[in-house]
């Protein structure tokens, strides 16, 4: 009995210790072209009362050493960062999407040129609105953050971070479910 207990625990310890190693190697083995430069923080379930706009904040983290264009880059050919929503029902609206102002920065490749960029962490705010006629229930909203990253001397093809969050309409209870990896299409959970 004791021996089994020891083996199980040892195996558990090995798995815990090996976990971060394996994942860090997996991540590092990806070329920049295939790697995500931005990750989305999980979003807690948004409880919405019909007819009352409810604020929601989406937080993103940009990998150190990289920057992405802000939502309003200073040059028309640069690709703006944009959060696009796929709404599960006509009973719901996302409004007033507010992007942070970009930091005006210049980079080694052109010290004289200022660019409007995000680096580090940034948040996008929006309002979730369910009209008074909205049906009560739980909905999953899917969203895609589109961005284009650069480092100090190269730029990488545009990428998309898929994300999803739950919206509970007509209920005051606040669950703590987390955002899930994106599915292929919006779903309604009634």
């Amino acid at each position: 009995m004791k021996t089994k207990y020891v083996i199980v625990l040892a195996f558990l310890a090995a798995s815990i210790a090996a976990g971060p190693f394996a994942s860090s190697q997996d991540q590092q083995s990806l070329s920049p072209a295939k790697r995500q430069f931005v990750t989305a923080a999980p979003v807690s379930t948004v409880a919405v009362r019909s007819g009352h706009p409810t604020p929601v904040t989406f937080t993103f983290h940009i990998q150190p050493g990289y920057h992405i264009n802000s939502n309003k880059p200073l040059m028309p050919e640069l690709i703006p960062t944009q959060l696009k929503f796929s709404l599960p029902s006509s009973d719901m609206v996302i409004g007033r999407v507010q992007y942070p102002q970009g930091q005006l920065m210049s980079f080694a490749f052109d010290p004289n040129q200022k660019l409007s960029v995000y680096s580090g962490d940034f948040s996008v705010k929006a309002l979730v609105v369910a009209p008074p006629s909205a049906s009560s229930g739980s909905y999953t909203v899917h969203a895609d953050l589109k961005y284009q990253a650069c480092d100090n001397n190269a730029c990488y093809p545009p990428k998309t971070v898929p994300m999803a969050f739950d919206v509970k309409v007509g209920s005051s209870s606040k669950s703590s479910s987390r955002a899930r990896p994106s599915a292929s299409s919006p779903h309604i959970h009634n």
Partner: protein, 196 residues
């Protein structure tokens, strides 16, 4: 009971320590995560120096076909770029100048636009940048042939026989580009029947 708990604790510490050392060793030996990445992705390296540049036929901005191998006998710079790439914009005026300067010696730049945007946007941008070299519309297939193009700009320098003599990703000093152009121009054409 106490002895068995101590035994379990020792096993956990030993295994965790061993795995931590393996990880640290791998990182240290290869010089950090980025180098581990480069070691693990040989498929992304593109054509190596001394090997023939993968051939392609792509459309110019006015719809004509350009085949890379048809430029044998000339020194060629294949410049992968995009309108959304700020570092690419920095080197474009240099390339315009270098194309003018070395054209008479048999030097050609092929700018391969990797944009998803339309031909008009690329044409307008090239016109704005006063590009005087051939610009073609790139494709995923060509990107794959050239190692997946991790980032832009990515430049390949080909000698007069169509072999790669140097390549690099990201913006480099103009002098580095000039050195590579001179090296490519200095190469001899092996097949005398190839036109210069």
């Amino acid at each position: 009971m106490k002895r068995s708990l101590l035994f379990i604790l020792v096993i956990i510490v030993v295994i965790s320590g061993a795995l931590f050392m393996v990880e640290s060793f791998s990182r240290g030996k290869k010089g950090g995560p980025s180098v581990i990445a480069s070691v693990l992705k040989p498929q992304d390296d593109g054509p190596a120096n001394g090997t023939p540049a993968p051939d392609f036929t792509l459309k110019t901005l006015d719809g004509k076909d350009v085949t890379l191998s048809s430029l044998k006998g000339k020194a060629v710079m294949v410049n992968f770029w995009a309108t959304w790439c700020e570092p690419c914009k920095i080197e474009m005026p240099w390339l315009v100048e270098l194309q003018s300067k070395y054209r008479k010696d048999g030097f050609e730049i092929i700018g391969v636009a990797m944009d998803d945007s339309g031909q008009k946007e690329i044409s307008d941008f090239a016109r704005k940048m006063k590009v005087n070299y051939t610009v073609v519309i790139g494709s995923e297939k060509v990107a794959d042939l050239y190692g997946g193009l991790d980032g832009l700009p990515t430049n390949f320098f080909l000698d007069r026989n169509g072999k790669v003599i140097d390549s690099f990703k990201g913006l480099r000093s103009e002098s580095v580009i000039v050195d590579d152009i001179k090296k490519a121009l200095a190469s001899e054409t092996k097949n005398a029947s190839l036109a210069r």
